[in-house]
């Protein structure tokens, strides 16, 4: 458990990216940033620049794939999509995260849920 939690903490950005890409169509990096901003209502302070190394890392790990395409305003942009493996990992990551949050919440509320 402990190890999973640590990894999760470090991998929060990865998890958010996968969640964004899981919502449907391929997205470029900017759209991913907007999606995170949108769904969290700006609660998470994210330095947008950190998304990009994370995107390339996920790609290296084979969790997402990428291809060049054209954005809605006709600009050349790189679009990402979740691979099958990425989808599985996203589900697993979401489940781990919930358990983690539950556990931490329980601890912080003095063992009463």
């Amino acid at each position: 458990m402990t190890e999973t939690n640590l990894a999760l903490l470090k991998g929060t950005v990865d998890l958010l990216i996968m969640a964004a890409l899981d919502s449907g169509e391929p997205m470029h990096g900017y759209a991913v940033a907007e999606w995170i901003q949108g769904v969290t209502g700006g609660a998470l302070l994210l330095e947008e620049g950190t998304l990009y190394p994370a995107l390339h890392r996920l790609k290296r790990q084979g969790l997402i794939s990428s291809e060049w395409g054209v954005s809605e305003n006709n600009r050349r942009a790189r679009f990402y999509r979740l691979t099958t493996e990425g989808r599985e990992r996203r589900a697993q990551g979401a489940a781990d995260w919930s358990r983690y949050v539950t556990a931490v919440s329980a601890a912080l509320s003095g063992g009463r849920i």
Binding site: H28, A33, E47, E48, T50, P53, L55, R60, R78
Partner: protein
């Protein structure tokens, strides 16, 4: 075929460029600015805000680039691995598809690598590996060089001379004197002769620097006259004979009638490199002062450890100065001798060196031949696959890719061949050790260890490269259009391929000729050696060794009487034609030189003394060995202790009396001041005393009764038709009757000893013949492959010729004739190689010239006949074609 590793390489198309990374960041920032501006912000503020939200651009950029780099590397590795796996798969399938060719290549590789590995383990264990002692490069053997007085260059020493070397020559940290002896062990069942070594106190501890596993080694006090007799035993003797318990220390063994206390046990595996198989070690306990004046003898040998930093040249320089001083000091007795130090390892392996080098070179040639053979097979195989390879090339496989695949296929072969070869090498090593002639130095150290394994792996890699690169490069070059248009219908149309393969046949035949001719000349030399007139008749003779212990036979009179009586009793045994004793048997590599002067002649200048082999014999010896009596008589019973000193000389010495009758003249074996005169009573024929290759040399026989030795060999000649070894029990009983504490040792037929003396020559001839046969087979297989291939290539031509009326006979002649062209060129190359190879063997040869016309003629004859036969099979196939059938294929 799409699974064969020829899918298009995705790495290049998928590679991220630096610009792409920049473009991705740029797009993000522009998009943000656009949105902010749409929200009413000024462009300037929007840019500032976009950058703020993005954070550190450079860091993001670096992070992306790093991930991309990692990804590329992983993919590259995966690609390589996948490619390799695919190649392996294809390779294995390819070999399975054509098992005959694969099997042939595999057998060739296995034999080549196996033979090379086995020979290397022998050569490495004996020649290359350092001796298993501390700082082995400081170990030397010291010999006495007697060439100045007409003696051998490696003679033994007198005890005080070597003690003086130890004390006066700085070059050496320690000098150990040694001499083997054969004590009779009593009190443990039947009396038994064991193998002993008498070596001065520091030989084990200071020269070889070994530690006992139990107890102690000798001290200087042990090695003094009158000291309590103590011995140190070998690990093997301790384990096998004494039970291997710690209580062995302090117990005693009765050797030569004297109880001797065991004070130490040597470490396991320690063997005196100069004389293996020693059971017990003792110290001589001689007081140098007591023998200080008996100089110039030849009954001790020496090993030494040089001081750190001392060189062999430096040591020999000092030894020469020492010898000059000793000669001045003892002008009468220390004459024409100089101690010479040799590196111990070189000295030990010297007798085996040239033969082993020869064998090593030979096996190297066999390996080369095997590689060429495999190359040839691969070329043939690849040309049959030209169509397939062209298709692959057409589908986008680059030349490098195809070369890589072919090399991997060869690699599959090499891995299997190498593994089998190491197995064969392991077996071969054991066979070689078993077959190696007696007296081969360091044989116990020959093993197939990590050094040898490393060598085998290197050999395999080298072989693969030689065999695989050429064919792979050639096929990589295949012209797509030619191959596809040819459609594989006429696989041999490629003339340059034929030329290349013809060239390989030239090399193969050349190597085979060189090996066969060298083996031939060595075989002829061996024949000559076997046919050498030894001067004695070894048939029906059995020999054994008897040693009289010093304690019981101190008195020379008693020794003389005992041995004369033994001679008489042995001669009286039934079935015995004649029996007699001698100080050293012929061919036993024993010099035993003596300097002599002839009465009435001017004394020779110092350094010009005459010397010869000295042998003490009992009355029956000359008859037992059938030495030819040329004039007068042999040593016999008349030469008793009361009779005048008698001497029998050999033919060569008799030539020093031109125009005179030597019989009746006198010879002195003493110094000029103190002559010891002998009457010449007879002349006997020359015999090979030291070695089969001896040149005739002066030899002197004296009566053992008059000058008795303590250690003697007896030779018994059995009646015709009687197995001489069947006389041994009676001989044993006779000895036991006379003295129950004595035992006979080293019993063997004299013929065995003669065969043993030829052992190294036989070993070499057998090995070389084996390699030559292997070479012939490989070359013939190669030739057969090429001719069959050429015949297939020319089937249409043959068809046309036959359609035009050519007979089958001329067709066959044409095919065989053409195939003999590369064979002829190979023979030419082989003759050149032979010239070099036999030169290498020159010093090993006896009675034949290195360029031996008979061996060369036989080699060329055998090769041409075999080659013609190899070519005839495909030639018959060619002449059997149906022209209509062949031509219709167009």
């Amino acid at each position: 075929m799409t699974n064969d590793g020829f899918r298009p390489d995705r790495r290049l198309t998928d590679q991220e460029s630096e610009e792409d990374l920049d473009a991705e960041i740029h797009f993000h920032l522009e998009e943000r600015v656009r949105r902010l501006q749409a929200g009413g912000m000024s462009e300037e503020d929007a840019r500032a805000e976009a950058l703020r939200r993005f954070g550190d651009v450079a860091e993001a950029r670096t992070g992306m680039a790093r991930e991309e780099q990692k990804r590329r590397w992983t993919m590259g590795m995966r690609g390589l691995f996948d490619g390799f796996r695919a190649d392996m798969g294809v390779g294995i399938r390819q070999w399975r598809a054509r098992p005959g060719m694969g099997l042939l290549a595999l057998i060739t590789l296995t034999l080549g690598i196996g033979a090379t590995t086995a020979i290397f383990s022998l050569v490495d264990g004996i020649l290359f590996r350092p001796l298993p002692f501390a700082a082995p490069d400081r170990l030397v053997s010291i010999w006495s060089d007697w060439t100045e007085r007409g003696g051998p260059d490696k003679e033994w020493f007198g005890y005080p001379d070597l003690i003086d070397v130890r004390e006066q020559v700085d070059a050496f940290e320690h000098v150990g004197l040694w001499g083997g002896f054969s004590p009779v062990l009593t009190g443990m069942g039947d009396p038994e002769q064991i193998s002993g070594m008498n070596a001065t106190y520091g030989t084990l501890s200071q020269v070889f620097r070994i530690q006992p596993v139990l107890g102690r080694l000798f001290t200087e006090e042990d090695d003094r006259p009158g000291a309590n007799p103590v011995i140190v035993i070998s690990h093997e003797f301790w384990q096998n004979r004494l039970g291997g318990g710690a209580d062995v220390l302090g117990s005693t063994l009765t050797l030569g009638g004297i109880p001797q206390e065991i004070v130490g046990v040597l470490p396991e595996g320690f063997d005196a490199p100069f004389q293996p198989g020693i059971d017990i070690w003792s110290v001589p306990g001689i007081d140098p002062a007591a023998v200080a004046n008996s100089r110039g003898g030849a009954n001790w040998r020496a090993v030494a450890r040089m001081n750190p930093g001392m060189t062999l040249d430096g040591a020999n320089q000092q030894l020469r100065v020492f010898a000059d001083r000793l000669r001045e000091q003892f002008p009468e007795s220390y004459v024409g001798q100089t101690p010479v130090a040799y590196g111990m390892q070189e000295d030990l392996v010297e007798p085996a060196r040239e033969g082993l080098q020869m064998v090593f070179v030979a096996v190297g040639l066999v390996l080369l031949l095997a590689s060429v053979n495999v190359a040839n097979l691969l070329l043939a195989r690849n040309s049959l696959r030209e169509g397939e390879l062209a298709v692959r090339a057409a589908l986008g496989a680059g030349r490098g890719r195809i070369v890589r695949q072919l090399l991997t296929e060869t690699g599959v072969l090499a891995v299997v061949g190498g593994a089998l070869g190491i197995g064969v090498g392991w077996l071969g090593t054991r066979v070689l050790v078993a077959l190696a002639p007696d007296g081969t130095p360091r044989l116990a150290e020959v093993t197939l260890d990590s050094r040898v394994l490393g060598f085998a792996v290197l050999t395999t890699i080298l072989t693969t490269l030689i065999a695989g690169v050429l064919p792979a490069l050639r096929s990589g070059r295949t012209d797509l259009r030619d191959a596809l248009v040819g459609g594989g219908r006429d696989p041999g149309a490629d003339r340059s391929g034929l030329r290349l393969r013809g060239g390989l046949v030239v090399v193969q035949v050349g190597l085979a000729v060189a090996l066969m001719a060298t083996a031939g000349v060595l075989g002829r030399s061996f024949q000559q050696l076997r046919a050498v007139d030894l001067g004695f008749d070894a048939s029906d003779v059995v020999t054994f060794f008897v040693s009289l212990p010093g304690a019981a036979y101190t008195d020379t009179e008693a020794r003389a009487a005992f041995l004369a009586e033994l001679d008489t009793r042995l001669n009286a045994l039934p079935q015995v034609v004649s029996a007699g004793g001698v100080g050293a048997l012929p061919l036993a590599n024993f010099n035993g030189d003596v300097t002599y002067t002839i009465e009435g002649r001017p004394l020779p200048e110092p350094g010009q003394e005459t010397a010869g082999w000295l042998r003490r014999v009992t009355p029956g010896y000359m008859e037992a060995m059938d030495l030819r009596i040329i004039a007068g008589r042999g040593i016999d019973a008349r030469d008793s202790r009361d009779a005048p000193n008698a001497i029998v000389i050999n033919e060569t010495l008799a030539e020093r009396f031109p125009g005179q009758n030597p019989i009746g003249q006198r010879i002195s074996l003493g110094s000029p001041d103190n002559p010891l005169w002998f009457d010449i009573v007879g002349i006997v024929g020359n015999i090979r005393n030291f070695d089969v290759r001896d040149d005739w040399r002066d030899a002197i026989y004296i009566s053992n009764t008059q000058f008795p030795t303590r250690q003697i060999f007896f030779a018994i000649e059995a009646a015709e038709g009687v197995d001489p070894t069947s006389l041994l029990p009676a001989a044993r009983a006779t000895l036991a009757e006379m003295d129950g504490s004595l035992a006979i040792a080293q019993a063997q037929p004299m013929s065995e000893l003669v065969e043993g003396a030829l052992g190294p020559d036989r070993f070499l001839a057998v090995l070389l013949s084996g390699f030559a046969a292997l070479a012939l087979v490989l070359a013939v297989v190669g030739l057969y492959g090429v001719v069959s291939y050429a015949v297939t290539a020319r089937l249409r031509e043959v068809g046309v010729r036959m359609a035009l009326g050519a007979g089958r006979g001329p067709i066959r002649l044409m095919v065989v004739g053409r195939s003999l062209v590369p064979v002829g060129m190979g023979v030419g190359l082989g003759l050149v190689l032979t010239w070099f190879a036999t030169r290498l063997a020159a010093s090993l040869l006896y009675g034949v010239s290195p360029i031996d016309p008979a061996s060369i003629a036989a080699t060329v004859g055998v090769l041409l006949v075999t080659a013609s036969m190899a070519a005839a099979v495909p030639a018959f196939r060619a002449s059997g074609v149906d022209p209509v059938h062949v031509l219709r294929q167009d």
